[in-house]
């Protein structure tokens, strides 16, 4: 596939270097400017060594697994919970093959927009629910 020539861009093109790369660099500085202070403000804490004979009372996964964990807790059967998770993962991987309409803007495909917004809201809601239960 041939590379797109400058004239082919509908509303005009800018050179990736330096225009976009500068934005990326600025964003990178902001990212590091947040991450490094966080690393200093939240120092390494003394942690309890693993003990296979004592199960802690409250055990929760990291925040990014909370939604998945919450689904497993809500669905009564483990096998069903696992199936639900597998379906969600496959739906995400194969998204471009089931959402095939040519329109891209949200307002031109209300059904898809509704599914997308509800899914993201559900993920956030399950995560928060998992945090406080």
């Amino acid at each position: 596939m041939a590379k797109k020539k400058k004239e082919k861009y509908e509303k005009g093109a800018v050179p990736f270097i330096p225009v976009h790369i500068l934005k990326e660099a600025a964003a990178a500085y902001i990212f590091l400017g947040i991450l490094i202070p966080l690393s200093i403000l939240y120092p390494f804490e003394a942690m309890e060594p693993a003990n296979p004979f004592v199960t802690p009372e409250h055990i929760k996964p990291e925040w990014y697994f909370l939604a998945a964990y919450q689904i497993l807790r809500l669905v009564p059967s483990k096998a069903l919970g696992l199936t639900v998770q597998a379906i969600i993962i496959f739906a995400i991987i194969l998204l471009p093959f089931w959402d095939r309409g040519p329109e891209r803007p949200f307002r031109k495909r209300p059904l898809y927009a509704a599914i997308a917004i509800l899914s993201v809201a559900a993920y956030i809601a399950l995560t928060v629910w998992g945090m406080y239960s």
């Binding site: 400058k6 050179p15 990178a28 390494f44 060594p49 004592v54 995400i92 959402d99």
Partner: protein, 223 residues
């Protein structure tokens, strides 16, 4: 100055004759175009990549001092955090940075989702990206066990129980992941090998595909 210019030209000529260096530089650096309307939302992919590089950098440093045995794991992590020069910083950057990478990858996906940027001709960019998310999460999960604390031990216990619910192969899968019926030192070395070799290599492979396809098709146009 003239001499330096001359040497530069000679070097470029040498590569030009063999690899079309000037053409490559033009196509990929000086005349690589993107849509004029591309904005800040388009930075999350690059930031995820930066986060991943940071994880590799800090991770290699941690590997130099970390000992993957139940007896020494936590002691060695504490040694990194308390005694090794700047060890605390690398340890913190790695463990807080893991959260950051997950967050950045999710933001990147949200941007693509909102723009519908995965539509033809970019379907496989999305598929490879979805795998990158899964690998990122697997990296987080395996890395979480390595300090061998109560939290990581029991977190891994619950996490590795999950595939047990799968029909027929469930039990066998749990046994394979744990290297036994319970989480033991065998699980620790297993997770360590997967965390520092298997997953990073897989991730680099998918990243390569992701980047090559993006380069071939170009960045999608903002709405």
């Amino acid at each position: 100055m003239e001499l330096i210019k001359d040497i530069n030209k000679k070097i470029l000529d040498w590569f030009d004759e063999r690899y079309d260096a000037r053409g490559w530089i033009r196509e990929n650096l000086t005349e690589k175009w993107v849509h004029k309307e591309i904005n800040w939302l388009y930075c999350f992919g690059g930031l995820s990549f930066l986060g991943f590089l940071l994880q590799i950098g800090t991770g290699v440093f941690l590997m130099m001092y970390y000992i993957p045995t139940p007896k020494d794991a936590l002691v060695s992590v504490q040694n990194i955090a308390n005694n090794i020069p700047f060890g605390w910083l690398f340890q913190r950057l790695h463990s807080i940075g893991a959260n950051a990478v997950n967050l950045l990858v999710m933001f990147h996906m949200l941007r693509v989702l909102y723009h519908g940027a995965y539509k033809k001709p970019r379907e496989l960019q999305w598929v490879s990206g979805a795998f990158l998310l899964l690998i990122t999460m697997a990296m987080s999960f395996t890395g979480y066990l390595l300090p061998w604390t109560q939290l990581s031990y029991w977190g891994a216990t619950i996490g590795t129980e999950m595939p047990g619910a799968a029909p027929i192969v469930g039990e066998w899968l749990v046994h394979l992941i744990r290297g036994g019926a319970q989480i033991t030192g065998v699980t620790l070395t297993r997770f360590y090998a997967v965390h520092v070799v298997v997953l990073p290599l897989t991730l680099v492979g998918f990243l390569g595909l992701h980047f090559i396809m993006i380069r071939m098709v170009g960045i999608s146009r903002p709405l």
